[in-house]
């Protein structure tokens, strides 16, 4: 819908289209919801319908689909027809990548573009991996949480490869924004699936160190805490027994920070058998709170943590209250 389009010559006045009779939109009899279309859009779609119905796979049809996509990149029928034409004409798919790249600049959250891109990359094979990795990087530099771009990138890695710099790419994005949950998710994806890193078992130790550093920098980061927990997937025992996990909770709480995730992680640890030393109780008791919020001082550490959470996170008060009711008998 940019201003250049207004200066194009109407299709009805172009000699190469003189032999085509446009087909108007059929909105059905007495349309329930009659739609007002702009003149240019109407004319383009009328000609599109004509070539679509006559199944004309020609270079002028291809050009027409470009114009239709420029007017509305969401029209999936136009994209479908474009693929049929590209196949019939045996077109240069590298040129097509350029076309998509231009459209994507304006419409990076459009499903059709990404699907078309995947179709192209699939046809081009492993040689396309590098360009696709760079393409998604460009889109992610504009919006680092674009779900479509991440989805495409993961597909490229799984299908075509290109894993070499992926962990470093995650590092870079997390340096830019440590709260970027998409980048943390990608980190998990790389650490668990990259054929070059040896899997989670080989990576856990260094990843725990990395994550703990991230947590200490910004304790109120839901993503880093969940990532830390995910590193011990299917291995609760190591999680409970790794002193780095419990001590990061203590370190944060000792600074009198009312950190929801430090408290909830400590709570989870205790529920799974962690035996807290007296320092933990002291740190929790020293948190700045109204004493009346947290009930009798005779309660166990786990109960106190639940009460503190209920007081500092009232939106989820019922959740923390439920956690208190669920506490195993051992820790109450």
């Amino acid at each position: 819908m940019d201003s250049d389009d207004e200066q194009t010559i109407p299709l009805s006045q172009r000699p190469e289209w003189a032999d085509v009779k446009p087909v108007p939109q059929d909105d059905g009899p007495n349309p329930v919801v009659p739609i007002a279309y702009t003149d240019e859009f109407r004319e383009t779609m009328d000609y599109f319908r004509a070539v679509y119905l006559s199944d004309e796979h020609s270079s002028r049809s291809l050009q027409l689909t470009s114009e239709a996509i420029n007017l509305n990149a969401g029209n999936y029928t136009v994209w479908h027809f474009r693929r049929l034409i590209l196949e019939s004409l045996n077109a240069d798919l590298h040129e097509e990548l350029d076309f998509v790249e231009n459209i994507a600049k304006k419409n990076s959250k459009n499903y059709q573009i990404w699907h078309h891109r995947r179709w192209l990359a699939e046809k081009l094979g492993p040689d396309a991996a590098f360009r696709e990795i760079e393409f998604t990087k460009k889109i992610l530099s504009l919006d680092a949480k674009n779900y479509h771009a991440w989805s495409h990138r993961q597909w490229v890695l799984k299908t075509l490869g290109g894993w070499e710099d992926e962990l470093e790419y995650c590092n870079q994005l997390l340096r830019d924004d440590i709260f970027n949950n998409s980048a943390w998710n990608q980190r998990h994806f790389v650490v668990t699936r990259s054929p070059l890193l040896g899997g989670l078992d080989a990576m856990r130790d260094s990843e725990v160190d990395y994550t703990i550093e991230a947590i200490i920098t910004y304790p109120e980061n839901e993503s880093s805490w969940r990532y830390l927990r995910g590193l011990y997937k299917n291995d609760l025992k190591s999680w409970v027994n790794d002193p780095r996990v419990s001590s990061v909770c203590l370190k944060i709480l000792s600074t009198k920070t009312r950190c929801i995730f430090a408290l909830s992680t400590l709570l989870d640890l205790i529920c799974h058998g962690f035996q807290p030393s007296p320092e933990y109780e002291e740190a929790v008791n020293a948190l700045p709170l109204q004493r009346s919020d947290v009930g009798p001082s005779s309660s166990s550490l786990a109960e106190t943590i639940c009460s503190v959470l209920e007081a500092i996170d009232p939106l989820r008060g019922n959740y923390w209250n439920w956690r208190k009711e669920q506490l195993p008998a051992l820790v109450t």
Binding site: D27, I35, T77, Y227, L315, N318
Partner: protein, 314 residues
Amino acid sequence: MVELVAEKHVQYVISVEKKKDSFESVVMEHLRMNGAYWGLTTLDLLGKLQVVDQDEVISWVMQCQHESGGFGGNIGHDPHILYTLSAVQVLALFDKIQILDVSKVTNYVVGLQNEDGSFSGDMWGEVDTRFSYIAICCLSLLHQLDKIDVEKAVNYIVRCKNLDGGFGCTPGGESHAGQIFCCVGALAITGSLHHVDKDLLGWWLCERQVKSGGLNGRPEKLPDVCYSWWVLSSLIMIDRVHWIDKEKLAKFILDCQDLEKGGISDRPDDAVDVFHTYFGVAGLSLLEYPGVKAVDPAYALPVDVVNKILISSS
């Protein structure tokens, strides 16, 4: 607290597609079937479905059906599973599913299941857990769920489960409230909710509520009325909806209304659209707001509509 201006929303929905707003009509043209579903379901939840001429709607819906059995987003558009479910849902609202050639629609949907249990959206093969939900919901409404490999379909969804308890679009994809609705909905319809780690997912979902009372779809993202549907329906399906502050959420949705012209926006003071109007009204329905009909959290249709269909088979 501001009240729901139901009558204004009804007027807004009726007027929305007649509006001479060219940009909106251009971008909506190919997904008019979704628009019809959002608008008509809103009207039904507000008890005003009778204001539309159902014969005209049904005749238009049927003209969008392709010979393959699938439906396009408008007349003359290619079939896609997205619009096939919306078409079935619109017919369901009018209690007219029986006019469908059920085996034809079923064959279309069944043909989209892949070897690994996942579903493609159409003949071009894009795979996404959204399409798993759509296929399962659609076939269930047609009483044809036994025509696909349900076990494989469920296993694929389970492969998309993440360490935070949520689900993504494909295995390894980031958890996103919209995808979570699709996966939990599909598991609910197929009686497979035991695959969900309800406490872990419930906590992740209730962490989506931010100070304004609104819900976001992923950590550190802005709240948006559409997540009132995706998050809330998921919490209800896993029986954890009492973990959020419902009153604050209702206030957030009501604050997103255009009190003069009707319609609901994504966030307070933004422009309204029919998509957010539907999700706002459906969200209030899940919060049991007075004057709004109950909506089914899995089928995304009024409860009375779903009951009529599900009971008619047994």
